[in-house]
């Protein structure tokens, strides 16, 4: 991901005095603990997730996070290059995806919240289908035994994969001038997510499993014929095809 693709950059010449903590806090929302970048990225491998050029060194970062939603507002990152010139990357909002996860700790929060860079593929989808994010937010609030039958909570990773599948499907349909019908989204007791659509006598279920090692499953139901077809699917393009099947007359 090129740095300038979807973030605004602000160039700042190195000053003789390093930015103070107060200066950092006045730049962004103040309810976040400032961490040294070395704490956030203890191993070199993780830095690759940031897609940073090798010559950049993360200095510190800050932003507003919420344990109840996985939208990160005003997330900023200060970088310093080999010439000690500092850059500020300002991300106006970031959405969870299953890639490029940046751990951030918010002051007063008990858990680490994972945020990501803004993915432009998801931006359009989430702007057009905000109900999806709000439903996923509700589902992610569920705690163990939410269903009264020891159902487990849905993990961040499963939610991120669900949004990624829907976002990619949305774009595929968008390219052929089709709209993504808004699915009914349900948590499953094993931590999976189930997406459901129906039209006339046809129904489609897409099950995003709780484990990334398992394949996404599809169930097509034709009520008149009493037919139930189970399949595993390999990619979001399969989901788009199933949706086209559902929507055809």
């Amino acid at each position: 991901m090129p740095l300038g693709t979807f973030v605004d950059t602000e160039y700042q010449e190195k000053s003789s005095v390093s930015p103070s903590l107060e200066e950092w806090q006045s730049d962004f929302a103040s309810d976040v603990t400032i961490h040294d970048a070395e704490t956030l990225l203890p191993i070199a491998g993780e830095r690759e997730l940031w897609a940073l050029p090798d010559e950049f060194t993360p200095v510190t970062s800050s932003g507003r996070v919420s344990a109840n939603s996985y939208v990160i507002g005003n997330f900023g990152l200060r970088l310093k290059d080999k010439a000690n010139l500092e850059y500020t990357l300002l991300i106006s909002s970031a959405f969870l995806t299953n890639k490029d996860i940046i751990p951030v700790h918010a002051a007063g929060q008990k858990d680490w919240v994972a945020a990501t860079w803004r993915d432009p593929r998801l931006s359009l989808f989430l702007n057009r289908c905000p109900q999806v994010l709000s439903k996923m937010t509700e589902i992610m609030k569920l705690t163990n035994n939410w269903d009264s039958y020891e159902g487990v909570s849905v993990s961040f990773e499963t939610s991120a994969r669900t949004i990624a599948v829907l976002g990619e499907t949305f774009l595929m349909l968008h390219r052929i001038s089709q709209n993504l019908p808004i699915p009914f989204i349900a948590p499953c007791p094993d931590g999976s997510i189930q997406l459901e659509w129906e039209k006339d006598q046809k129904e489609l279920e897409i099950i995003i499993p709780f484990s990334a090692d398992q394949q996404i499953r599809a169930l097509r139901t034709m009520r008149e014929k009493e037919e139930f077809i189970e399949e595993t699917i390999n990619s979001s393009s399969d989901v788009a095809e199933y949706l086209l099947w559902l929507m055809e007359d």
Binding site: E138, I139, L142, W146, D147, S148, Y149, E150, G151, V152, F184, A186, P187, C188, P189, D190, Q194, E196, E203, E205, I207, R217, L219, T221, R223, F228, I229, E230
Partner: protein
């Protein structure tokens, strides 16, 4: 019987016509009032239910004010290769089990025949 002995619990036979109650979480109710098949999936092959003739809808929901209640028929589950039996628990003598692999299509078939007898008080 001494104070330390407990009265043995009778395991009752569940006939094909018997109703089984399943608590339904609000997020499993679709806009058209149907119950999602997700409500009939479980982490393992054993799906917990209450045997209707041993309880009441109100008792099944007693500690779960947010939930609704659906009814399914034991014989229908047996036709889907599920075992249905009474499995009383100390805290719930009406407890039963629908045991068998719950493929997506089996859970869907159960959901299509489920009747929502008490909707959840509100959706989340």
């Amino acid at each position: 019987m001494s104070v330390h002995e407990t009265k043995p619990v009778t395991i009752i036979e569940i006939s094909d016509e018997d109703q089984l109650y399943r608590r339904i979480f609000p997020l499993h109710i679709k806009e058209n009032g149907q119950v999602s098949s997700a409500a009939f999936k479980s982490k393992d092959p054993k799906l917990s239910v209450d045997v209707a003739k041993l309880t009441t809808p109100k008792k099944s929901l007693l500690s779960y004010p947010q939930h609704g209640l659906a009814s399914i028929i034991a014989g229908f589950c047996r036709k889907l290769s599920q075992k249905v039996y009474h499995d009383p628990l100390p805290e719930n003598l009406a407890h039963g089990i629908v045991e068998g692999k719950k493929t997506d299509s089996i859970a869907k078939k159960i959901a299509l025949c489920a009747i929502l007898i008490i909707p959840p008080p509100s959706t989340l």
